[in-house]
Structures are given as structure tokens and as C-alpha cells.
């Protein structure tokens, strides 16, 4: 399996903590497409847009942004990071991604998740009490739609499908479907049992934090009769590739701290992330992918060694990173980090084989 490196965004609309400026949604949609274009030109493998239903993100309809990105790019894979499948109609999800697949000559991909943000549930009339059942059923339907057409299917949460013709079909053979997992052991186990690729969302903490989750995922896959070694695992994590170690930390810190304060509430208030805590997260033993190109290379290789991952998707714009700095980091990731990591991992795999 070739190692893939990509970027993802939530389309943040955040007041700049340094200049005090609030970007307009119009500016941010254009910037999002520009990020995809620069990532594509820099040779990155994946571009992802997350789904959030709030004024401070432009990603409530990620498929539309991905369709626009399809027109602006040539090679990069276009994914959702993630599609909140629990509050979606899988038929519509398939139709939209199949359309993106046709527009992009087979570059569409779905990362289906339960949703760590829950705004979409009341918006689309779903009950949070059905959180687990909704995801299980909708994932089942989505996989069946991918598998065959026409389809007869019935479940609890939508009208049955009788010999339903669901079109268009994928551009190529299929559309990859991953499952986004936030680190809960049960999600990892269910994903392993289904034999689906797992995209693990990491936030903060030690590099080794999710060893157990990945172990359980692979063990469950094996138990269910899947070849665990053939199943791709991805980490989706925050980071920033700077010119130097110091410049990367200085550039990322104010925005990441702002993003954390606005998205990680306790008692209704955001938590101020102290610089010292941030710096600790950037150390070699911690998971945050921030640093010079060489530091990012080292850490990605450490992740690969530890978890046997096949893909890393980095979110570099959390907290409203200004576009100029964001694009520079995408460029560095694509041209300075990715080629070295791919080459090194290929070399290691050849030695192992």
C-alpha cells in the first residue's frame, strides 16, 4: 500500500486572533477551493472537507465544495472528513459522491462518521438517542448501495427501497468508503468487524494514545475473517508545517488555541490552551504534527512505525489560519515532507518484504 498524505479543512470562519479580522463566507469558500488546488499542485494525495452546521464553518454542504474542488484539481483524491452519515440519507450521499466521482474521473471518497458535532441531528429531524442505531443502519444501507443496483432494502429509519435504481454509479469500479473513528474502542471494533478502512481522528495527547484502539480494530477485523494487514488505517490530525521548528509553533499556536477555545467547551466556556501545553504537544513523544519539514517527516515515520498507518491527513487551518500561511504549509507538506515520507516507507516495506 502506498503511503498517502493529505490535508483537510472544516472551512473555518474564525475571527483572526492576531488582526481581529473576520473573513467573509464568500472569501472562505474561494480559499477552500484554492487550498485544494495548491494541495493538488504540490502533489498531495488527499483533500478532505469536514461537515459542520454552524455559522463559524462553511462546510455544511461538503459535497458541493468537493465538486468545486473537482473542477480545480487533477490528481488529488476528494474526500469528506467526515460525512455525518447518521443524519444523512445514504441514497442522497451516494448520489452526490457518485456525481463527484464522475466529475473528477474517479477521485471521490467518503469518510463516514457518527459526528462529534451533533448540530445536524435536530436540523434534519433525528433523535440523538438513536445515535448508534442511526449510524449502524445508514452505514449498512450505504454499503449495500455501493455493492449493487437496483437495491431492495428495509430498515427502521427510512422508507424501504424496493428494486430501487440508485444512480449514477461510480466512475470506476467503486467509491472507497472509510469509517471515521474518534477513538472509542467500540467504534474501532465495529469498523474492524465490517472490514472497512478506519480513519482515526486524533486531537491531543501522547503519540501512543491510540495503540489499544488500533490493536482492537485489527483484532476484530481478523476475528471477522478480514485480512487486517490489507485494511488501510489513516490518522486525521492537527498540525502545521513551518519553515523551521520555531516558526511552525509560532505560526500555529495562536490559531490552534483559538480553535480549541471555540470548539472545546466545558461549563459553556472555551479552554485557553497555554503555550507551554501546546509546546508539550509538539514534542517528539506527543501527537501534534507541528514543526519543521524534518520534524513532520520524523513524526509521520514514528506514527507509521507505531500504528502501521497507511495515510495521514493533516488539518492545518483550525482556528482560522490565514490563507497565506496555510498555503505555504500545504506547499511544504507536498514538496518537502510527502516525497521523503513516501520514499522512506516504501524502502522500509521493501526491506520487510
Amino acid at each position: 500500500m502506498a503511503f498517502e498524505i493529505g490535508i483537510m479543512t472544516f472551512g473555518e470562519v474564525t475571527q483572526d486572533p492576531v488582526t481581529g479580522r473576520l473573513p467573509s463566507p464568500r472569501q472562505r469558500v474561494r480559499e477552500t477551493i484554492e487550498q485544494a488546488k495548491v494541495a493538488d499542485e504540490a502533489g498531495l494525495d488527499v483533500f478532505g472537507v469536514g461537515e459542520h452546521h454552524r455559522t463559524d464553518f462553511i462546510g455544511s454542504a461538503p459535497t458541493i465544495l468537493l465538486a468545486a474542488a473537482a473542477e480545480a484539481t487533477e490528481h488529488i483524491r476528494l474526500t469528506s472528513s467526515v460525512t455525518v452519515l447518521s443524519s444523512e440519507d445514504p441514497v442522497r450521499v451516494w448520489e452526490q459522491f457518485a456525481t463527484i466521482d464522475l466529475l473528477s474521473h474517479g477521485r471521490a471518497e467518503i469518510i463516514a462518521g457518527r459526528g462529534s458535532y451533533t448540530e445536524s441531528f435536530p436540523l434534519f429531524g433525528y433523535d440523538l438517542r438513536d445515535y448508534s442505531d442511526l449510524f449502524r443502519e445508514k452505514l449498512d444501507l450505504l454499503l449495500k448501495i455501493r455493492e449493487r443496483n437496483p437495491l431492495t432494502w428495509s430498515g427502521r429509519f427510512r422508507a424501504p427501497l424496493v428494486d430501487a435504481d440508485i444512480a449514477p454509479r461510480a466512475d470506476g469500479e467503486t467509491i472507497p468508503i472509510w469509517v471515521g473513528v474518534g477513538g472509542s474502542t467500540a467504534s474501532a471494533i465495529s469498523t474492524g468487524r465490517l472490514g472497512l478502512p478506519m480513519a482515526m481522528a486524533l486531537l491531543l495527547g501522547p503519540l501512543t494514545f491510540h495503540e489499544q484502539t488500533i490493536e482492537l480494530y485489527r483484532a476484530s477485523a481478523e476475528q471477522a475473517g478480514h485480512d487486517a494487514r490489507a485494511l488501510p488505517v489513516s490518522i486525521n490530525t492537527h498540525g502545521y508545517v513551518g519553515r523551521t521548528s520555531r516558526q511552525a509553533r509560532d505560526a500555529m499556536y495562536p490559531y490552534f488555541a483559538k480553535g480549541m477555545a471555540e470548539n472545546n467547551h466545558q461549563r459553556g466556556r472555551g479552554i485557553e490552551l497555554p503555550r507551554a501545553v501546546f509546546d508539550a504537544q509538539a514534542s517528539p513523544g506527543a501527537g501534534l504534527l507541528v514543526g519543521s519539514p524534518q520534524e513532520i517527516i520524523d513524526k509521520l515515520l514514528a506514527y507509521h512505525e507505531l500504528y502501521g498507518i497507511n495515510r495521514a491527513i493533516i488539518q492545518m487551518g483550525f482556528g482560522g489560519m490565514p490563507q497565506k500561511e496555510h498555503l505555504e504549509a500545504i506547499e511544504r507538506l507536498g514538496t518537502e515532507v510527502a516525497p521523503v515520507v513516501r520514499q522512506e516507507i516504501t524502502a522500509r516495506q521493501e526491506v520487510a518484504a
Binding site: S132, T185, A186
Partner: protein, 206 residues
């Protein structure tokens, strides 16, 4: 649920075992109809049922109604609630299962045991099980539940079982480490039952 496997416990000659079935009573402290707490209790019962012939009853304390909630003393309860209390008091193995609510077991769970006779559970085997939003709740077993049964002079099983939300898909327990913990707890239960069935006691039963 009655499981009719041959008994694993060999009581030896002279001790009657024919038809011996372990009366297991789950006291379920969850207010929800479908709950992780019941999911955990079911995982325990499935494992136990494979080891021994068991007869399972369940008391859902949040479903006992006003005949229970309005009672402040044992004499106040309605006959159906009285039957439920007797059931728990006569168990061979009591499984006390509760979710963490406001840092402890829920109020109705305590209310049930407030109505249980002070000495009815003396030396009764009690297995403790709890569920919570995260691992930081795990010590509810030791700091809230075990002292409650210490009051009753019950024999709590040394290994108590905790599971977090993240261990479940809906209400189905998935984490094999929790299943391992269940196996360990029940192995101890089996040992205790075996020594009760075959061993000599320090003081004779009257």
C-alpha cells in the same frame, strides 16, 4: 432465562445437586428502557449461563411504580413490590448493576436497598457492575456500591465490573477487555460457589 447445561460445580458425593439451579437476580438501577447498564448485565449473564445452570430474574427499580416510590418504609410497599424485594433478598447471586448518576448510583437504586431488610443479604454473593460516561467514574464501584453492600454484610465479589460509553455500540458491549474482566469476576464466583458447596464451614449452620 433458565439455562440447562450440566452443572459445572461438582459437589461431590452426598451433597444433593440434582436440579440445582443458581437463582440470579439482577437489580437494574438504570432509568432507561434500553441501557448500557442492562447491556453490561446481559454480557455477565451470557457468560455465567455458559458456566452454570442459572435462573435469572430482574428488578428494574425505575419501573416499580408509585407502590415503590411512595413507600418510605417496608410496610408501605404494595404486594407486587414486596414480591420484588423478596426476590432480591432470596437470591443466590445478586447482580447490582447501576449507571453513574451525579457521581453515584441513581436515587431509585438506593431507595430499593433502603427497603431491603437489614440482614436479608448477609453473606449473599453480590457482583457489582456499573456503567459511566468515562473511565473517571470507575471507582463508583469501590467508593459507592461496595460500602452499600458492606452495610448489608453481603459477600461482594472481589472483581467488580465497569464499562464506559466508548465500550458500547449502542447498548451492546464490544470491548473485549471488559469481557475479560467479566470472565475473571465469574471465575471467582465459581470458586466461591464451589467452596460453599463442598467446603466445611468454620461455624456450623443452625
Amino acid at each position: 432465562m433458565t439455562v440447562t447445561n450440566p452443572p459445572v460445580v461438582d459437589a461431590g458425593p452426598g451433597i444433593p445437586t440434582a436440579g440445582a439451579v443458581l437463582r440470579v437476580v439482577v437489580v437494574n438501577g438504570s432509568p432507561s428502557r434500553r441501557s448500557k447498564t442492562l447491556g453490561l448485565a446481559d454480557a455477565v449473564l451470557d457468560t455465567l449461563g455458559k458456566m452454570l445452570p442459572i435462573d435469572v430474574s430482574r428488578v428494574d427499580v425505575y419501573r416499580l411504580g408509585p407502590g415503590f416510590t411512595a413507600a418510605t418504609e417496608r410496610d408501605d410497599v404494595t404486594p407486587d413490590v414486596e414480591a420484588m424485594l423478596r426476590l432480591a433478598e432470596d437470591a443466590d447471586l445478586l447482580i447490582a448493576a447501576a449507571p453513574v448518576y451525579r457521581g453515584s448510583y441513581p436515587g431509585m437504586f438506593k431507595h430499593f436497598f433502603d427497603l431491603v431488610d437489614q440482614y436479608a443479604l448477609a453473606n449473599t454473593l453480590v457482583l457489582l457492575a456499573a456503567t459511566g460516561g468515562g473511565e473517571h467514574h470507575a471507582l463508583v464501584l469501590e467508593h459507592a456500591m461496595r460500602p452499600l453492600f458492606a452495610f448489608f454484610q453481603a459477600l461482594t465479589v472481589p472483581v467488580a465490573i465497569f464499562a464506559s460509553s466508548g465500550d458500547f455500540d449502542g447498548v451492546t458491549l464490544l470491548n473485549p477487555r471488559v469481557h475479560g474482566r467479566i470472565e475473571m469476576a465469574l471465575a471467582d464466583v465459581l470458586d466461591l460457589l464451589k467452596s460453599r458447596a463442598t467446603g466445611t464451614r468454620a461455624t456450623a449452620d443452625s
